[in-house]
Amino acid sequence: MTVLTRGAYAAPGTSLDFKTGNWRSTEKPVHIHAKAPCHAACPAGEDQQAWFAKLQEGHVEEAWRELVSANPLPAATGRVCPHPCETACNRKDVDGALAIHNVERWLGDEAIANGWAYPVEPPADDAPTVAIIGAGPGGLSAAYHCLRQGLKAEIFEALPEAGGLLRSGIPRTRLPREPLNAEIDRLLALPGITLHLQTRLGRDVSLAELKASHAAVLLAPGCQESKHWDVGGAVPSDLHEGLSLLREFMDHGQFPEAHNVVVHGGGNTAVDLCRLMKRAGSEHVTLITASGLPGPDTDPDDLINVVPRELDEALEEGIEIIDHATVNRLIMKGSKVTGVEVVSLKKEPSASGRKRRVSFEGTERVMEADMVIPCIGERVDPDGLNHLLDGSYFWPDSPFGKLEDGVYAIGDARGDRGTVAGAIGDGAKAVEAAAAHIAGRPQPTLDTRAEMASTGLNPVYYALSPRAEPPKVPPEARTFTTEIEGDIGRTAALAEAQRCLSCGNCLACDNCWTLCPDNAVIKTQELASDGSHYLFDLDYCKGCGLCAHECPTGYIQMVPETA
């Protein structure tokens, strides 16, 4: 029996005997570790938030190591990637997305300059060897991830140099040779990677041999064959196909002369070509694309697949773009083209669900042209791979690229790819699956965590801070060889890191600890079991939801009591 105290005084802190936790009727707070949208959007599988966290602490090398745990070629991707991470960045509607792309490049360049070692160990002498077809970004990534999985890698490349599309399909104004060579050389120098140049599948080696001699085969051949292009059966006699024109230019430094150029297509190659032709002296360069230009109402499916920055630069340089259109007819004088008839067109939904292209009668118009360049994409060279292709590409069912046991597809050769970063991500995933296959482990699964939308954040806690922009060569000073975009620099890179909202993950801001009216958030000195610094004391938490509402990052969410 509790005995009355004189005057009914109470002893300090005795309210702890009264567990208010049972007042929680419906919901309790939990830490959810949602995926940040940058991470979710990154085809290479980078966790930008994680490496920005290291940068915030001022640990640049650690940030790079964190970055290359997914992507071994940041100096390259930091120059060529269309950075869907920035498009997804929740900060874009506040004061501009983080300049993830530029910081990535800076980190990659820093690693080259400082000779930082990749975070891999040499594989054991008796480690299984994986065969990799193609030394483009996908193949290189796969080789690197083999080392991370304790496997050896043997790369077979048809060309005399490694680099694939990075070397052959991207102008130096975007990706100069020096960082590309340095990064590829550093990677290929890692013990455990063997490279066979000028070794072509179907000619020098066969898939069956490789399957027999290696623990797994990873196919990263890229797309080397231009797709056939004609307009109603007509083909100009002097037809220059886009990618080969670009390769030619990059090998010889010259373009055929033309005054009015029409480029037909909607990818980076098309835009690169437009800009180079313009710079080479063509008076009018027009891009005709079936896709839409970026805008508030543009459906992501409909959006032109070009690095936004590049598109801006192209417009800046005077390239004309006709969107939602196609070349309906070539106007020929003999076998030479003198003009094109353009018609408006849109991708409309069809009964099957796949989009179909519908051109609209009555919108035809004619424009002058003395050169038409199709830039509608390439297909996989079918040599030695015929039985694995479905049309022009591989179409693996698995996100890990598995075509059959021990054989995986990587990169552009997959019908659903199209970026360097995607190829790099494929390399990592394919190796992960292959390693599991080799070791007899269960196949890996995808990270299915929810993505943290901007609506899940509480933006008031973030001080406004404008996005850093790198220096750029002005349009009039641009050449064929000088890199247009400059280095963001250390100061700006570190400042950008501070702008990371840490979407969906704890940034140890103390808000929950500070704002709990019930003192039911406990701060821990060591990391709590869930990796944060905070515990919910459910003995006292009344479930008001204040911590979740005031969590800047959406890391705290209220879930049903029974969950």
Binding site: T5, L494, L515, N519, I522, K523, C544, G545
Partner: protein, 352 residues
């Protein structure tokens, strides 16, 4: 020296500071090892999302263990001390509704008489401060007691079930200022208490809000360092009385500041010495629409609602003009009171 030894003993006993790395911490529970003074402990019986409980907890953390508290009758008193339990870890006394300032005066006189330095705090709600305890408060200030008086302002008599006080904002509904065919909630204005307090020419008087805990705690620490009467009014939303979701307590408090209806200002010897500029001034409707007590003001098509909204907007504009609250983004003080976050906590890792 003696004070230091005593403080050390108190800290040891009540876990005011984190243990140094060399100290053994194994015997302390995580709760005991909290790197802050737990003056107001868990297990109190405040409503979910109670702004007053939060405000009191923040005040106690900054005030520290070497204090004693006189608490007026009200929610805070009732929910913290249902015998035989108490949520307080400092010496604390509740006497009556209207006399916390006077009881505190006596405590302070006792400390003076005995040559002790323990700081005396007096707590009251808006009822106990703006209304019934106003006289005792005025006397306390005039007599220049070394007391920090904290008013937890939730703008009505919440303890008795939401009756209007002189702190209730104009046009807010309470059970004694309901809206109806003839009335649009409270007919009168919120009393400008801070000006009256400041007119006592005391060293320091300030307003604070639970939405800005760092600012609030800075003000408490500042007041604690003053030997003389100081006054702090803390805007403390009441989810029950203001009729908003319990998770929105901070949001509502923040909007009150951002729209200008609850200016955060500091006055020394009656003169305004600091204000917290509003980073982005919001219309009062942003604040009103979150709360059921203003629901009658957000009805479409009611000209009376429009008029009262405009009235409240005019009052907010008045505050903004009088105190110069409209913030300029480039102003270095713009974010001084605003809690912003970065990895590793509010102060860590911010670019200087």
């Amino acid at each position: 020296m003696q004070d230091q030894a005593r403080l050390a003993e108190l800290r040891q006993k009540f876990g005011r500071e984190p243990a140094a790395p060399s100290e053994p911490t194994a015997e302390r529970t995580p709760r005991e090892a909290q790197p802050r003074f737990r003056g107001l402990e868990s297990g109190h019986r405040a409503c979910q999302g109670c702004g007053e409980a939060l405000a009191a907890r923040l005040v106690m953390e900054s005030a520290g263990p070497d204090v004693m508290v006189a608490n007026a009758t009200g929610c805070l008193e009732v929910f913290t001390t249902p015998w035989p339990q108490s949520a307080w870890r400092v010496p604390w006394i509740h006497s009556l509704f209207e006399n916390s300032a006077a009881v505190a005066s006596g405590m302070e006189a006792a400390m003076k008489a005995k040559g002790q330095n323990t700081k005396v705090l007096a707590f009251g709600g808006d009822g106990g401060t703006y209304d019934i305890g106003f006289q005792a408060l005025s006397g306390m200030l005039e007599r220049y007691h070394n007391i920090l008086y904290v008013c937890y302002d939730n703008e009505a008599y919440m303890n008795t079930g939401i009756q209007r006080s002189s702190s209730t904002p104009h046009a807010a509904t309470t059970t004694t200022s309901p809206a109806g065919k003839e009335r649009m909630g409270k007919r009168h204005l919120k009393k400008d208490l801070l000006s009256i307090i400041a007119a006592h020419h005391i060293p320091y008087a300030a307003s604070a809000s639970v939405a800005y805990p760092q600012d609030l705690q800075r003000k408490v620490r500042y007041a604690m360092g003053i030997d003389g009467p100081t006054f702090l009014v803390v805007h403390s939303p009441c989810p029950l009385g203001w009729r908003h979701a319990s998770a929105l307590t901070i949001e509502v408090a923040r909007k009150a500041v951002e729209c200008g209806l609850f200016p955060l200002v500091e006055l020394e010897r009656g003169a305004v010495t600091n204000i917290m500029p509003i980073r982005q001034v919001r219309p009062v409707t942003d604040y009103l629409k979150l709360q059921g007590r203003f629901a009658h003001l957000t009805r479409d098509g009611d000209p009376r609602a429009q008029e009262e909204r405009d009235h409240l907007q005019a009052l907010a504009d008045y505050n903004i003009n009088v105190f110069g609250l409209a913030g300029d983004g480039d102003d270095p003080v713009d974010t001084s009171g605003i809690t912003t976050v970065g990895r590793g906590g509010p102060l860590a890792g911010r670019p200087q």
